[in-house]
């Protein structure tokens, strides 16, 4: 383990101390953590599965039943338990969102480092591609891509298509950020020194550049997770999810297209939305706090400070 990584771990401890003081960051962490726990321990949180159908004593499916003891969030149009759908849906939503987020962060970081570190034609190429991707409206592009890929009879599960399309389209802003940070680090002394003594590129990137990029990468991953989760829910709402593995977005698609609204079944369309908001707000809060800790905002600006500048207790004597 290199010294840089040891330093990184030591910093981590200090970081936690500073982080603890920020309430918003803690709230964000709490939101993410609870959602993750619910997804992991789903079987322990409900006796039903997502495909069980609630029935009354006559064996008829309880459709659009309002919340009651046996199904705390009521049932959907087919009699499924909404609470069970919700926490099993967390598995799908979080899995797709997190995998897509990690892919895009991995692609973005790699391309950013390569572009920043090597510069020249590679850099130009990567930057041109980000320029292009940033201008194309993302949702229509994804819809067309997903729809076409689905049609192509490839042996890929619908969720994998979603993960790949989201992951491979949302790396542009990360690539830009990482690239410019890499450029700054490259300018520093020890990189030049390492080069002078003949260290290989991979060695320099791994030992010198990556450790310093870590905070930026982590922060952006957190922020990108929120984007990925929101996008997944949107695509699923538009019908591109996997109906056999319903995520929160798919649930909302069902609720919307199967007249939960006209049936007044608020328990069907409110909880999935709140769940999405829960996780993405958690990521945003956490990400913003991390960002703020990395580059603290200016303490104050020039239009502050006129109030209370004169703190002279006795204006007569000037004391």
């Amino acid at each position: 383990m290199s010294d840089h990584w040891k330093l990184f771990l030591r910093n981590l401890n200090e970081f936690w101390k500073a982080f603890r003081r920020n309430k918003l960051g803690l709230v964000g962490g709490f939101l993410i953590l609870t959602a993750l726990l619910a997804a992991i321990f789903a079987p322990a949180l409900t006796p039903h599965s997502a495909v069980d159908i609630m029935r009354d004593s006559n064996g008829r499916a309880l459709t659009f039943a309002s919340p009651a003891m046996h199904s705390p969030l009521g049932t959907d149009d087919a009699g499924h338990d909404v609470w069970a759908l919700l926490i099993y849906g967390a598995r799908i939503s979080l899995m797709v969102g997190f995998l897509a987020g990690f892919i895009s962060m991995f692609v973005g970081s790699s391309l950013g480092i390569i572009a920043g570190y090597f510069g020249g034609a590679v850099d130009t190429l990567v930057m041109r591609v980000t320029d292009i991707l940033m201008v194309i409206p993302d949702l229509p592009l994804m819809l067309v891509l997903v729809a076409t890929i689905r049609q192509m009879d490839l042996k890929v599960s619908p969720l994998s298509v979603l993960i790949l399309v989201i992951g491979l389209l949302y790396w542009t802003s990360a690539a830009r950020l990482i690239r410019s940070q890499t450029l700054t680090i490259k300018e520093r002394q020890f990189v030049a020194r390492a080069r002078a003594i003949g260290a290989g590129h991979w060695h320099i990137v791994r030992k010198h550049i990556l450790p310093q990029l870590m905070p930026l990468i982590v922060t952006n991953t957190v922020l990108i997770l929120s984007t990925a989760i929101l996008i997944e829910s949107g695509l699923a709402f538009l019908g591109l999810g996997d109906p056999t593995q319903p995520s929160w977005g798919t649930m909302l698609n069902f609720a919307f297209s199967r007249s939960a609204i006209s049936n007044g079944a608020w328990w069907f369309y409110l909880p999935p939305g709140i769940a999405i908001l829960w996780v993405s707000l958690g990521c945003i809060l956490l990400g913003n706090v991390l960002e703020e800790m990395m580059n603290p905002r200016l303490a104050a600006h020039y239009l502050e400070g006129d109030k209370g500048m004169i703190a002279i207790t006795d204006k007569e004597t000037g004391l």
Partner: protein, 325 residues
């Protein structure tokens, strides 16, 4: 001189993007399984092999894909021929044009309100940093940012119709369809309230956040201190020296955001059954109407690229420094 170089550079990127979009759209058409003739004339039309072959020749499908077929297709697109919708059996371009104005109306209103209020709130929040107003505005923006567009639409739809009796779908009431615009204006406005509100709330938060950080940065510049030293009041400094400089990054962001407003339109039009391009895209998706989907994609992408180009052009007027760089 330098401005020209800047614009040529930006234009180059736009053209590159345009080329990429055209190529992508063209390629997507080709990778669909089945005979491209099917893609052009529709899936369920029964035709003999002979006819098929003659059609192949007629559409130039016997020629190599590059460059002949691609150039052919570009020529077709340039003449407004985007193929025939499978589900509606009408030319795609005709359908697109019939929906275009409704979407422009929705996006235009939504952007207008969210920019005006977002800039105003962001300006005030940054100026009065750390006051309850600022914290309230920040909280609102973060929540708006984290909320799925379509879900907010659903909530507003339920609330608006239950509490205010607002219409939940369409662009005018069924009885008013086809009547001249001025006679149905109040009805149209009632239908526009909820979708526009959804649009505004979502983008308002984002614009507010960006404006806030932009004004915070601007107010930390030395020329702000100069302006105060001249004897201006804080409000004068804010409006005369802060606003314009802080607006510069906003122009770029608003332009880049046009792509996201298209996403917004797709979700919101779907939720409110609003008769525009977004709803059309969603329907095409459900009905697997590829010519329509790809035509819509082409139109949306090209519009956003062109709008971006215009924004770059506008930027050179707003920031005199572009001339120097």
């Amino acid at each position: 001189m330098a401005r020209r170089d800047y614009l040529i550079g930006k234009m180059g990127i736009s053209l590159l993007t345009l080329l990429f979009v055209l190529l992508l759209d063209f390629m997507l058409f080709r990778v669909l399984p089945g005979d491209p003739v099917r893609a052009v004339i529709g899936r369920n039309v029964r035709i003999s092999a002979d006819v098929q072959n003659s059609l192949r020749a007629q559409f130039g499908l016997d020629k190599p894909i590059f460059p002949d077929q691609f150039v052919d297709t570009l020529g077709q697109w340039a003449r407004g021929n985007l193929g025939v919708s499978w589900s509606q059996r009408r030319p795609v371009s005709e359908i697109l044009i019939s929906k275009l104005w409704n979407t422009l109306l929705l996006i235009g209103l939504g952007q207008l309100f969210s920019i005006i209020f977002g800039v105003m709130l962001g300006l005030l929040a940054g100026w009065k940093r750390k006051t309850p107003f600022d914290i309230g505005a920040l909280t609102f923006s973060l929540i708006a940012w984290a909320t799925p567009t379509f879900w907010l639409g659903i909530i507003l739809l339920v609330a608006g119709s239950a509490w205010f009796g607002l219409p939940t779908g369409g662009i005018v009431s069924p009885a008013n369809i086809g009547k001249p615009l001025h006679t149905v204006l109040p009805d149209l406005i009632r239908h526009l309230i909820l979708p526009t509100l959804t649009f505004t709330i979502l983008y308002l938060g984002e614009y507010m956040l960006i404006m806030r950080s932009s004004i915070l940065e601007t107010l930390s510049e030395d020329y702000i201190l100069t302006a105060r030293a001249k004897g201006m009041s804080n409000f004068q400094v804010l409006m005369r020296h802060g606003l314009r400089n802080a607006m510069l990054p906003m122009v770029t962001i608003i332009a880049l955001n046009l792509g996201f407003t298209v996403s917004g339109a797709i979700y919101i039009e779907t939720v409110f059954s609003y008769d525009g391009l977004g709803n059309l895209v969603q329907t095409a998706l459900v009905k697997q109407d590829y010519p329509l989907l790809q035509g819509a994609f082409l139109l949306l992408a090209v519009s956003v690229i062109v709008a971006n180009m215009l924004a770059d052009f506008l930027y050179t007027y707003l920031d005199p420094r572009v001339k120097a760089n």
